[in-house]
Amino acid sequence: MNTVVETTDLTKRFGENTALNGLTMTVPQGGIVGFLGRNGSGKSTTIKILLDVIRRTSGEALLLGEPTGSVAVRRRIGFLGEDKRLYPYMTVEEIIEFTRPFFSTWRKETESRLLRDFELPRNCKVSSLSKGMRTKLGLLLNLCRHAEFLILDEPSEGLDPVVAEQMLQSLVQQAADGTTIFFSSHQISEVEQIADHIIVIEKGRVILQGPLDHVQQKFRRINLVFDDPPPAEAFRVDGVDHVSLQGRTISILASRNIDDIAALGPLLAAKSVEVQPVGLKELFLEKVRER
């Protein structure tokens, strides 16, 4: 399997502050990868290192097989930043003219189609565009180059639901064309919908990564209802990630041995045993709280 991004023990320190603390992650080729993490967890720092905007302190980072900083590799990728800021003094037309020559894979048909679909006014200065329009322009500049890999930092930030949906659809189309998409996000529901692979980062380290459906099928919430609940310690067996008591219910988050753990219920005279799937938001919150 080809990897688009590979980091090994990636560390970044800004003076006293350690933003990335041995980050080891892999982005597989093809598909859509969601990069989840809280504010300050290191998402933007990671992306900036991949683009060589900032330099790593130690560890390794490979982009399309080459060390970050390779100019040639940047001919094959696209990037949309969180602020979606583009040169304010240029018009829509001018910034397209400026960007096009850098990419030999640029397709003018895509350019015409997207200008039409996104309804971008050619002669308007970037400084007078709304954030939604700037996002669409930024998307256009990236989609026309039909890159192998597209990095987006909080793409739906500041967008209304209509534009956000348009944006997600464009990403799906691009993925269908073979581009690997990597986007960081706070919107967990968005990640659950569109991503097929996730990487969760907290305090500069990866705490969860893998195909999304594997993660979803691995974790279960087991709720056991008792008349007289045993202490939580009774349930700390292999495979249990978290146990909590809420009234008469023992609630267990488990990643392995689901059946054995569920069997504890009848063993300990539980009134009811419920095994349920776990939504990503719930899982994310639990995992982050663990730290």
Partner: protein, 128 residues
């Protein structure tokens, strides 16, 4: 094709697609020989990753529910015609009725019978 997905439920999206397509076939919304949307159009329509649609279609093919004709699209298989499925379900419900009657004759309460069934089914799950 009308599919309603709940991406935040914790159930993998590809499985939801599989289940809903199977359901569509069961209720006759899709019949044998019908062509399913292509991977790309369905992904765009649902706004999900194309890989997810691929996974769903592969699973459906593995289960014999659809056939993937290389380069020519996906089609509902013959063996899953609604009639044969309805027949099987009809036969199964007769079987269940007979067993429940027998258990009642043996003197078991419905509660006891239910627990027996659950235990049997759970054992099946853990053996898989």
């Amino acid at each position: 094709m009308i599919l309603r997905l709940s991406p935040s439920s914790g159930v993998p999206v590809y499985l939801q697609i599989v289940e809903q397509i199977k359901h569509s076939i069961e209720i006759g919304a899709l019949e044998e020989g019908d062509q399913l949307p292509g991977i790309r159009p369905l992904a765009e329509d649902l706004v999900v990753s194309p890989n997810t649609v691929v996974k769903a279609y592969n699973e459906l093919e593995r289960d014999g529910v659809i056939r993937l004709r290389h380069g020519a699209g996906a089609y509902v298989s013959e063996s899953n015609s609604p009639n044969s499925r309805r027949c099987r379900i009809k036969d199964a419900s007769i079987l269940v009725k007979n067993v429940v009657e027998k258990l009642r004759d043996m003197g078991l309460s419905d509660e006891q019978s239910r627990r027996l069934f659950e235990a049997e089914l759970m054992e099946e799950v853990s053996c898989r």
